[in-house]
C-alpha cells in the first residue's frame, strides 16, 4: 500500500503546482434591533450598562433580549440599570492574530458578571497580565472615548 502511494507520488508532476492568492470581500449589514440599539445607545450616551428583567422568573439578562429565555414572556421594556463593576466568572487568553479580532494577541476575553445581573457578558480585560488573571477578580468597565456604535463603546474592563 505504502509503496503504491510512493510510486504515485513519483508520477505526480509538481512542476505545475502553485497557489493563487485570492481575497474574498464579504459585505454585510448588521441590524442591532430595537433592544440591541437601546442597549448600545445607553452605553454610548449615558455611560450606563442596561439589562432587562424578567419579572416572572426574577432574572436580569445582559446582553438584553426581547424575550425571557426561560418563560418566553416579553421583557424588552423592563430596563434595569446594572453596576459598571463585576467579577470574572471565567476567562480565556486569545493567542492568535486575525483581522476580525479587536486586539493584538495575546489578550484576555472574560465572562464578567456585573452587579445586579444574573447572566455574564463577554468582554476584553486589560490592565492585568495574562498570568495574573483569575476567576473571581473584580473588574470595572472603561468606556471608549470614540464611539463605534458597537459593544466596543465599552472599551475594556480593568481590575478595580
Amino acid at each position: 500500500m505504502r509503496s503504491n502511494a510512493m510510486k504515485k507520488e513519483k508520477d505526480f508532476d509538481i512542476n505545475n503546482c502553485y497557489t493563487i492568492s485570492g481575497k474574498l470581500a464579504l459585505p454585510y449589514t448588521y441590524f442591532a434591533g430595537r433592544t440591541g440599539s437601546t442597549f448600545i445607545t445607553h452605553i454610548r450616551d449615558n455611560k450606563k450598562i442596561m439589562g432587562v428583567r424578567c419579572n416572572h422568573c426574577n432574572k436580569v439578562f445582559i446582553p438584553p433580549r426581547q424575550t425571557c429565555e426561560k418563560c418566553l414572556s416579553m421583557i424588552s421594556d423592563n430596563w434595569v440599570e446594572l453596576e459598571n463593576q463585576g467579577e470574572i466568572l471565567n476567562y480565556t487568553v486569545v493567542r492568535y492574530d486575525d483581522n476580525h479580532l479587536p486586539r493584538k494577541a495575546p489578550f484576555i476575553l472574560a465572562m464578567i458578571k456585573l452587579g445586579k445581573a444574573d447572566t455574564p457578558v463577554i468582554h476584553i480585560v486589560e490592565g492585568i497580565s495574562i498570568n495574573d488573571v483569575k476567576e473571581g477578580l473584580k473588574v470595572k468597565a472603561v468606556f471608549a472615548e470614540k464611539t463605534t456604535n458597537t459593544i466596543l463603546d465599552i472599551d475594556h474592563f480593568e481590575p478595580v
Partner: protein, 282 residues
C-alpha cells in the same frame, strides 16, 4: 378632497409659503412647474429669496416640470414614497433640469404630519461593513498547467483518451469514461459565442474581492478545435453586451454565433484573470 397618507394635496401647496426658507434660497433663481394629473398645474417661481405660486396652464418657461399623480406627489412630499422608486415605476417624472429634486428639500421645511408629531422615532443602529478574507487556491498539476498556458497566451484543453472530448478548464479525469486524461491540446484562442448569461447579481470576484459591475455577461465560447458542448466559460466585454448573438445547433438548423477573441491582460500571473474578457473579433 381626497387625503393620501393623511394629507390633502391642497395642504401641501397652501403651506408652501409658511414652510419656505429664504436662507435656503440664496442664489436660487428657478421656475418649477407641477403638472399633477386630475388636480391641475401650478407654477412655483423662486427668485431674490422670495417665492410665489400660481395656478396656470402655461408651464413652458419652467426650468423643470414635475409630472406625477396626486397620490405619488403627496407620498413623495411627506416621505411615505421613495422618490427613486416612484421614478423607476414611471409614476414621477422630471422634465428639464433634474437638479431641482435635490434643490427643493433645501427650500422648504418638511410638512409635519400628525403621526410624526406624536411618536418620536427610536434610534436604531445599523452597521455596514466589508470583511476581507485572504485565501489561497492550490492549482494542482493539471489546472496549474492550464493556468501557466494562459500566462503564455495559450488556451490548453485536456483530451480524454477514450471518448476524445476536450475539457477546458481541464480535469484530471474524464468523468464520463472514468479514465485519466493525458493528452494536452492547444485550442482557440478565438471562438464562437454559444451561451450568454446576463448577470444582475453583483457577485464578488474571489481573486480580487471586488464586486463586479452589473449587468455583466457570463459567456460560453466554443473555442476553435472544440465541438458540441465543449465551451469555455469566461466574461464578455461589458461594452459588447448588447451587440453579440448566441450560436446554436438545433438538429439540422445551425445558427452561427458571434466570433469572439480573448483580450489578454498585460501583467499575466498564471490565473484565470490573465484573460480580461472576450470581445467581438470582427
Amino acid at each position: 378632497m381626497t387625503k393620501y397618507f393623511g394629507v390633502a394635496i391642497d395642504d401641501i401647496f397652501n403651506s408652501m409659503a409658511e414652510r419656505f426658507r429664504p436662507e435656503g434660497a440664496a442664489d436660487v433663481d428657478v421656475k418649477v412647474g407641477y403638472d399633477i394629473r386630475e388636480f391641475g398645474k401650478r407654477k412655483l417661481v423662486i427668485s431674490n429669496r422670495k417665492m410665489s405660486l400660481e395656478k396656470t396652464d402655461d408651464l413652458s418657461d419652467c426650468n423643470a416640470v414635475i409630472k406625477t399623480d396626486e397620490r405619488t406627489f403627496v407620498g413623495v412630499t411627506v416621505g411615505k414614497i421613495e422618490t427613486m422608486e416612484a421614478i423607476i415605476a414611471l409614476k414621477f417624472r422630471v422634465k428639464g433640469d433634474q437638479g431641482v429634486l435635490a434643490l427643493l428639500p433645501r427650500l422648504f421645511l418638511k410638512l409635519s404630519t400628525q403621526e410624526k408629531d406624536v411618536k418620536q422615532e427610536q434610534e436604531l443602529l445599523v452597521l455596514k461593513k466589508v470583511i476581507s478574507v485572504k485565501q489561497k487556491f492550490a492549482t494542482g498539476p493539471v489546472m496549474g498547467k492550464f493556468l501557466k498556458g494562459l500566462k503564455e497566451e495559450k488556451v490548453l484543453a485536456i483530451k480524454c483518451p477514450e471518448c476524445g472530448r476536450l475539457q477546458s478548464p481541464p480535469r484530471e479525469v474524464c468523468a464520463i469514461c472514468r479514465v485519466k486524461n493525458t493528452e494536452w491540446v492547444e485550442v482557440g484562442p478565438e471562438g464562437e459565442l454559444r451561451m450568454l448569461e446576463y448577470c444582475y447579481y453583483a457577485s464578488p470576484d474571489p481573486l480580487t474581492g471586488e464586486t463586479r459591475e452589473t449587468p455583466y455577461g457570463a459567456i460560453g465560447v466554443l473555442l476553435d478545435k472544440c465541438k458540441d458542448e465543449e465551451v469555455f466559460w469566461h466574461l464578455l466585454n461589458p461594452a459588447h453586451l448588447d451587440r453579440v448573438k448566441m450560436g446554436i445547433v438545433l438538429g439540422e438548423k445551425v445558427i452561427k454565433g458571434t466570433r469572439l477573441r480573448p483580450v489578454w491582460s498585460e501583467n499575466r500571473t498564471g490565473s484565470i484573470n490573465d484573460i480580461k474578457y472576450f470581445e467581438i473579433a470582427e
